[in-house]
């Protein structure tokens, strides 16, 4: 540890200029957050901060470059553990700490309580370390200089983007709120690959071997990320159900197809379909949200975008939008088939309701939110803006203006049990806009409703002698 501290002090002395830049950009990023007018520059300063941090990491690792045979340090009695510890300590002290301080400043300035957000702030730093700092340190450790380091980053980014573009069509469909399971695999993979590369490089300095190991690990990680089945995500998520037995009475069947035109948009060479899933036996006081839908067709169906319509007490219908290949549809449309489908869904309940004055200042709302409302000028709309520290809560959130209907705040609800999402900006803001021309003056209250997740469930559904035509958009059915 003494050697690690000794090297750490040397690096701090050598890289004081780069360290100052990171602190400066962290300060600028935090300062710009105070003024909403500078939101664009805040985003820009975030990018600059990341670039400065990455370059600092590169310079840090390359101060004792691992590759090559001319470095001064490799003939001196360095302990690899001490050297690696010094570098990690430096990253925590001069990359994580400035960002942490900036995040704390922003959280406090926005009026969120610090105490309850400390776990989230720490988790956010862990994610930055695992997903950004250590991977870039690993890249630097197999680079021979700052130019190859930058080139390697570009190559990694290009290859990453290429892999995403190539494999996304084959990946399992979006997992909705369960997607955190897949992203957790990515975080673990990032961290594990980075740690392995750093470990092998610092211990053995066998760059070619390390690069081969890294490529193998990246391939395995990508495979795990892409091929993870929905059932695995649900199995993990079910473990986090608050009341797993709650949905035992729920039955799912195919329901009536709506007669009105679908508003699903158009995809070239695809036919829009809607599969209505009728859920009966919903426990009283609960709300339901569809997460993942899969249907067994000979052609892949891209399903998502769930909309829920309550029918009666204890019954709701979830409409799932899917796109299937036009050619396949035309071949099969009139033929009676048996459909097998699976629906993953979540029950929400335990409503928390808080009524706030109609105010453009952010006020505390349920689930750790802060919300404000104001009437928009040009479009004569009423805007409700809610913000949350470090992540959007894993809840369904509605807003109600005056005595109007409840309106969902546009959201993607992640069921992640972790206290922060990946990112540098610690504040997540979402906005809901309602057209209420002429009514603004009569509205004096804003009600925020939050429902927590109670159970994550799965139902298999089967329907015999149905025709695909029955589920297509009415305009298609008439053809």
């Amino acid at each position: 540890m003494r050697q690690a501290l000794h090297i750490f002090k040397k690096d701090a002395r050598c890289l004081w200029y780069e360290i100052s830049l990171v602190w400066l950009f962290a300060g600028v990023f935090a300062s710009l957050h105070i003024h909403a007018d500078y939101a664009y520059f805040s985003g820009l300063s975030e990018v600059v901060l990341v670039i400065a941090a990455v370059l600092l990491i590169g310079r840090l690792i390359l101060a004792e470059a691992i590759t090559g045979d001319r470095q001064f340090w490799i003939t001196r009695p360095y302990r690899w553990q001490g050297l690696l510890a010094a570098k990690v300590l430096f990253i925590i002290g001069f990359v994580n700490l400035p960002i942490f301080v900036a995040q704390v400043f922003i959280v406090l300035i926005d009026g969120f309580p610090l105490g309850s957000n400390v776990p989230g702030l720490l988790w956010s730093q862990f994610l930055l370390l695992a997903c950004v700092a250590l991977p870039f340190a690993a890249i630097a450790s197999v680079s021979s200089g700052i130019a190859p380091f930058i080139a390697s980053q570009l190559i990694v980014l290009l290859v990453g983007a290429g892999m995403l573009a190539l494999f996304t069509p084959f990946a399992t469909r979006a997992l909705g709120g369960l997607d955190w399971v897949r992203y957790s695999i990515a975080v673990v993979a990032f961290g594990a690959i980075a740690l392995t590369v750093l470990f092998i490089q610092y211990k053995t300095r066998r760059t070619y071997f390390t690069r081969c190991v890294a490529v193998g690990e990246i391939a395995l990680g990508a495979l795990a990320f892409i091929a993870m089945p929905s059932s695995f995500a649900l199995a993990v998520q079910s473990g986090h159900s608050k009341q797993p037995s709650l949905g035992s009475s729920i039955q799912a069947t195919f329901g009536e197809v709506p007669e009105h035109q679908f508003s699903t948009g158009q995809v070239p060479h695809k036919i829009a379909m809607v599969f209505p899933i009728l859920l009966r036996g919903l426990p009283e006081g609960t709300d339901v949200q569809g997460d993942v839908f899969s249907i067994s067709l000979q052609s892949p169906a891209d399903c998502g975008n769930f909309s829920r319509t309550p029918i009666s007490a204890g019954s709701s219908i979830i409409h799932v939008n899917c796109f299937i290949d036009t050619k396949f549809f035309e071949q099969q449309r009139g033929t009676p088939v048996t459909l097998h489908a699976s629906l993953y869904f979540t029950l929400f309940g335990n409503r928390q309701i808080q009524t706030l004055p109609f105010n453009s200042d952010f006020l505390n709302a349920p689930a750790g939110l802060q919300c404000a409302a104001e009437s928009g000028g040009v479009r004569a709309s009423l805007d409700v803006t809610c913000r949350s520290a470090l992540r959007w809560p894993a809840r369904l959130v509605y807003e109600r203006l005056g005595d109007s209907d409840e309106n969902t705040i546009p959201q993607f609800v992640s069921y992640s049990p972790f206290p922060a999402d990946f990112g540098i900006d610690p504040i997540e803001t979402r906005r809901s806009s309602t057209s209420m021309a002429g009514r603004a003056r009569t509205i004096h209250e804003l009600t925020i409703i939050a429902e927590e997740q109670l159970a994550h469930l799965h139902r298999d559904i089967e329907a015999h002698n149905v025709r695909l035509d029955d589920f297509a958009d009415p305009s298609v059915r008439r053809r």
């Binding site: 003494r2 050598c14 045979d69 470095q71 001064f72 490799i74 003939t75 009695p77």
Partner: protein, 301 residues
């Protein structure tokens, strides 16, 4: 006297080129071992393998009794390494370099460090990037001698230095010789000759010979034989193999005797050429010995 460095059948390939081709080497404790050889002979590769900077494809090397692939901090703390092409931390001042290195070495001697700084006239407050090549070499050497290493490995330390700088470096080396075993590779044979106790000649990735300096200079002689009539060597009697670069003229025979022994060499000359008018055997400089060997090898090749 035990060996501080041993290498057995070292082979190192760089893609399709053989850098070392079965190198065997022993450096006795307390010696100043000069490793000489032409460009590309494998001197730097040998030293880098010994320092665990490069790995050999086969063979085995030990440094201070430790497998060179296993050299750890404890062993490196007893070894100094100075190379002409080593990348030093240019941003450090000389003073900070010494202060930074000190905690790495349990045997660091502040008095010795101060003495070296004074002896080499090192500017303490100047960054390494602003030092001349010679001053950088002196700084590297001083930083490697301050902890009184058991073994000092130097790769072409005199390359590109002016005579004064060379003199300073050699003085520094001579002061530590004895307590420190020195393995030095150099083209500068005249400099090596002035202080090396042992010499090894590396060519084609192999050590062609390795022996004590006194023995080497004693066995090499430039021999001139003055004869009365032009020498005619009988066809069935070739030149002895240990006579290199033989030259003949009507009244003179000249060659390099590689196994000189006054009595035996004279006998051999007389057996081949009969009575001769005069035989002179002049000692050779290390440079002359290596030029002879290198030319003989290239001719043979």
């Amino acid at each position: 006297m035990s060996d501080l460095v041993t290498a057995i059948d070292l082979v190192k390939r760089f893609r399709w080129v053989r850098g070392l081709d079965g190198l065997n080497l022993s450096v006795p404790e307390g010696s100043v071992f000069g490793l000489a050889g032409p460009n590309g002979a494998g001197k730097t590769t040998t030293l880098k393998i010994l320092m665990n900077i490069l790995h050999s494809n086969s063979g085995h090397a030990e440094v201070l009794g430790i497998d060179s692939r296993q050299l750890g901090p404890e062993t490196l703390a007893q070894i100094g390494y100075v190379s002409e092409n080593q990348e030093l931390p240019d941003w450090m001042t000389v003073e900070y370099l010494f202060a930074y290195l000190k905690p790495f070495y349990p045997t660091w001697d502040d008095t010795r460090a101060e003495q070296l700084i004074h002896q080499f006239d090192l500017p303490l407050d100047r960054q390494l990037r602003h030092l001349s090549r010679g001053m950088r070499m002196k700084t590297a050497l001083a930083s490697s001698l301050a902890y009184r290493p058991r073994l000092l490995i130097m790769d072409e330390p005199f390359s590109g230095l002016d005579p004064l700088m060379r003199e300073d470096l050699i003085d520094g080396l001579l002061e530590c010789a004895g307590e420190t075993t020195i393995l030095i590779s150099s083209h500068d044979l005249a400099e090596i000759e002035s202080f090396a106790s042992h010499i090894g000649y590396l060519d084609g990735g192999r050590l062609q010979f390795s022996e004590e300096m006194t023995s080497l200079t004693a066995r090499f002689r430039e021999v001139e034989v003055i004869v009365d009539s032009p020498p005619l060597l009988p066809p069935d009697r070739p030149w002895p193999a240990h006579w290199l670069r033989p030259e003949t003229s009507p009244a003179l025979i000249r060659f390099v005797e590689t196994h000189f022994d006054a009595e035996r060499t004279t006998d051999e000359i007389r057996k081949l050429f009969g009575d001769v008018r005069n035989i002179s055997a002049l000692p050779m400089s290390l440079r002359a010995i290596f030029v002879t060997l290198a030319r003989d090898r290239s001719k043979a090749a």
